[in-house]
């Protein structure tokens, strides 16, 4: 354990004093010994912190940490005793009355909920021990996630408890320290998530209306997407309300002609793309594709719209193709170019085309035996399309 490397423990053998007392014939000496013991106990643990930097490995990244150390007395009912040295931290920047939790992304330094936790097994050798400037641990500020990013007031609590339980505390102390958190806070993430949800909702309804028609099946897809998303959250009523209002406002704006699908799409894609969160971007695009597929027909306007969204979100071609394959069937398209329908990139040579077609044939051939008749039927249609293109290349 790094915290204990180079440990400088000054353990004063207070317990020895008991023997001294017992042996002492001099009552004055005994009284002095008892006073010293009491004084030591009253001190409890003084916790102190200092900023430091560690390196990942030689020449690696410099990582900021806060070193924690304690001084004071630890009195236990019997000795030697197996105990646990515990460190807990809370964020009191906004309120000391309602402190907020701090999470740690290092699994070994967090509990099952992700909260920072440091527990270390120690043996207290004597009935009464005193420590001075004993290093306890290094708080990994680089790996902590608080409510918000930046400088935070953090209360650091150190306790020595009986091993295996925190019911009996033998010694404890605390201090407050300022720690600079580099990671975006969870409250900020929650706020951003809410904003992203509204953006995705707006984008989806804009795509839904891009063919000039809002279909119940499309709205059902949007509702399902958010319902599933919120089902995993403990308290999502505010988020549900927010998304519902956004959807209704956007529908109203589009139906009244105050907003156009293309303008909304351009604006929202720019906003979503600026965040550089590819998971959000991919989720948004997948929802758009599902919305387009919901009414079993892909209007040319919807096709253009999807292209706009894919480009706007700067999504990789492979992802776009895989998403289309999952949700769009060729039969949904009124008109679609053969090469475009199977996702063949433009500008390929004849040999590259043959290679691409072979790959696509291999992929869809395997899907043609799928148990879901919808998947199998789509595979058959695509195989026909691929075969036709290959035949044309042979003729050429």
């Amino acid at each position: 354990m790094e915290a204990f490397v180079g440990i400088v423990v000054v353990v004063i053998l207070i317990a020895v004093i008991r023997g001294v007392i017992a042996a002492a014939t001099d009552r004055v000496q005994a009284a002095r010994a008892v006073r010293e013991v009491r004084k030591a106990i009253e001190k409890g643990l003084a916790v102190s912190c200092r900023d430091d930097v560690i390196h990942e490995k030689e020449g690696g990244r410099a990582l900021s940490v806060v070193r924690v150390q304690v001084s004071g007395a630890i009195v236990v009912p019997r000795a030697p005793l197996a105990a646990t040295l515990r460190v807990r931290i809370i964020d009191i920047t906004d309120s000391t009355e309602r402190p907020q939790p701090l999470f740690c992304v290092i699994p070994e330094m967090s509990d099952e909920d992700g909260l920072y936790r440091f527990d270390h097994a120690i043996t207290i050798p004597y009935h009464c021990s005193e420590v001075a400037n004993m290093p306890v641990t290094a708080l990994p500020s680089f790996a902590l996630v608080g409510p918000k990013k930046g400088s935070r007031r953090v209360r650091v609590v150190v306790a020595v408890t009986e091993a295996g339980t925190d019911d009996q505390v033998f010694a404890a102390g605390e201090t407050t320290v300022t720690i600079k958190l580099d990671t975006t806070g969870y409250l900020e993430i929650a706020e951003r998530t809410k904003a992203r949800e509204k953006q995705i909702a707006t984008l989806a309804i804009a795509v839904s209306g891009s063919d000039g028609h809002f279909d119940k099946r499309e709205s059902a897809v949007i509702r399902r997407f958010f319902s599933e998303r919120f089902a995993k959250c403990e308290d999502s009523s505010e988020r549900r309300r927010g998304v519902t209002e956004t959807l209704q406002q956007t529908l109203d704006q589009m139906q009244s002609g105050r907003a156009s699908a293309s303008e909304l799409i351009a604006q929202l894609c720019a906003e979503l793309a600026s965040d550089d969160d590819e998971i959000v971007q991919q989720s948004a695009y997948e929802l758009c594709v599902q919305v387009v597929a919901a009414d079993e027909a892909v209007d040319p306007r919807e096709s253009r719209c999807l292209k706009l969204v894919a480009e706007g979100l700067r999504l990789p071609r492979e992802f776009v193709q895989a998403t289309h394959e999952r949700h769009l069937r060729l039969a949904m398209f009124d008109q679609i170019d053969d090469e475009q329908s199977i996702g063949m990139p433009a500008g390929m040579t004849r040999e590259e085309k043959i290679e691409y077609l072979n790959g696509e044939y291999r992929k869809w051939r395997s899907r043609a035996t799928h148990k879901d008749p919808k998947v199998a039927a789509e595979a058959s249609v695509r195989l026909e399309r691929i075969t036709k293109l290959r035949g044309q290349l042979v003729d050429a």
Partner: protein, 516 residues
Amino acid sequence: MKAPAIGIDLGTTYSALAAINPAGKPEIVPNKEGERITASAVYFQPGGSVLVGQLAVDAAQGDPGRVVRWIKRKMGDAAWSFSVDGEDYSPVDISALILKKVRQDAEAVLGQIRHAVVTVPAYFDETRRKATMDAAAKAGLELLRIINEPTAAALAYAADGRVRGTVLIYDFGGGTFDVSIVNIESAESVSVLSSEGDHELGGYDLDLALAAHLDSLFKESFGVRLLDDQRPAIVHRTIAEAERAKRRLSSMMTAPSIALNWGGHVLNASVDRVAFERIIKDFVVRTEMLIDNALSAAKVTPEQIDAVILVGGSTRIPMVQRLLRDKFHKDPLKHVNPDEAVALGAAIQSAVIMQGRGLLDLPGTVGEVLKRTRLQDVTNHSFGTISIGSAFGRQCLRNSIIIPKNTPIPCSKTDEFQTIVAGQTDARCQITQGEDEDPEFVNTITEGVLELPPGRPAGCTIRVTYSYDANGRMACEFLDVESGRQKRFELDVRGPQTHRKSQSDERVNFDDLVIE
């Protein structure tokens, strides 16, 4: 010989049975009608008796509603059944009737038959293989092994002794297409390098395409269609005429006098080879793409192919032979009858197994050669399990392939996975078949739950071992390494899933946008 060594080619349009003669050579055993191949057709006669073979095909002319053909295409389809006289017959039941017919006819010549090797298309999946095994059992056969059709054909050619080296087996049958790249070292050593196929691509598809062409000619002339589901007898007759024309076009440039008639209208149509080849071109192109894939999987170029072997009746089509000649710059071999090669090879494999088990007693060199004969086949699909992986930067369910397609069999492969969360008390074990990484596009063959001890951290190792036997069947084990708990699987084949229903087409109002 103690008992006959039998190989059966259970084909889409025709089936054949071969046996090993006392000299150790495979030979076709004709059916009781004297035909070397038996039509895979079943006629349920009024009164309850059943006819199998050409008589059933003939009966279809007048009574198509009681005749089943091309049943091989329905193998493994749990939802399909043929209902007649209040009885439902599954594809397994009907295939068993065909197997029983060829077995009983051969018994009249060879005496009692108990054991056999039965062939399946290389591209048959687990469901279809299992259905074929069930059909054999139902026909009273103790199945020694099921082997892939092109592999059986390779054995027949290997035994024939005139082919050695890297060989491409082009098996274009009545209902299925397979292509295998095989290394024939000697009569005693045959190993498959790769296999590809399509069990919805065969001569029957060409018949249907040509029938559709004839139908359009008839409609042009008389304004009525022949291929109308309401008139099954006419549909049947039109397809039969198309098939006859197809056969003639293999040796003639024009198939004249194709008699089409219905409702007092008579048309003597003709189709020339150029038109026919235009009609079937897409099918032939599909076989070429599968060839390319098989070559690529075997890491072999067309120039490295020493011989091309033709198997299956559809290889008689000149366009097919031309394609192969152009691609490989050599004449395809057909000195073993394309209709019989598979059954002959299956009989050899049967003799190899029986000799090994002491069920057959071929004397001298022949017996020794059989004992030494080694056949190495490959898996025709990839098998895997569903685990947490990542795609396009996000964590999601992925299909992790454990036994990749074209792995030599028998084989056993092990992979390790970790539990995801602390305190995880069970692991879902799914066995998938398919090459896709996306679980959406693979079939789950079977699944179950491995119960895990409580109170453990995340990251406990689950060791997954898949074993694939020489019959092309699989066993799987999921083992929790720490506790020793395991889940073993016998394959439980699931029926096909159903379509989702279409929803309404009403317009949206605000209430439709309330998230619940």
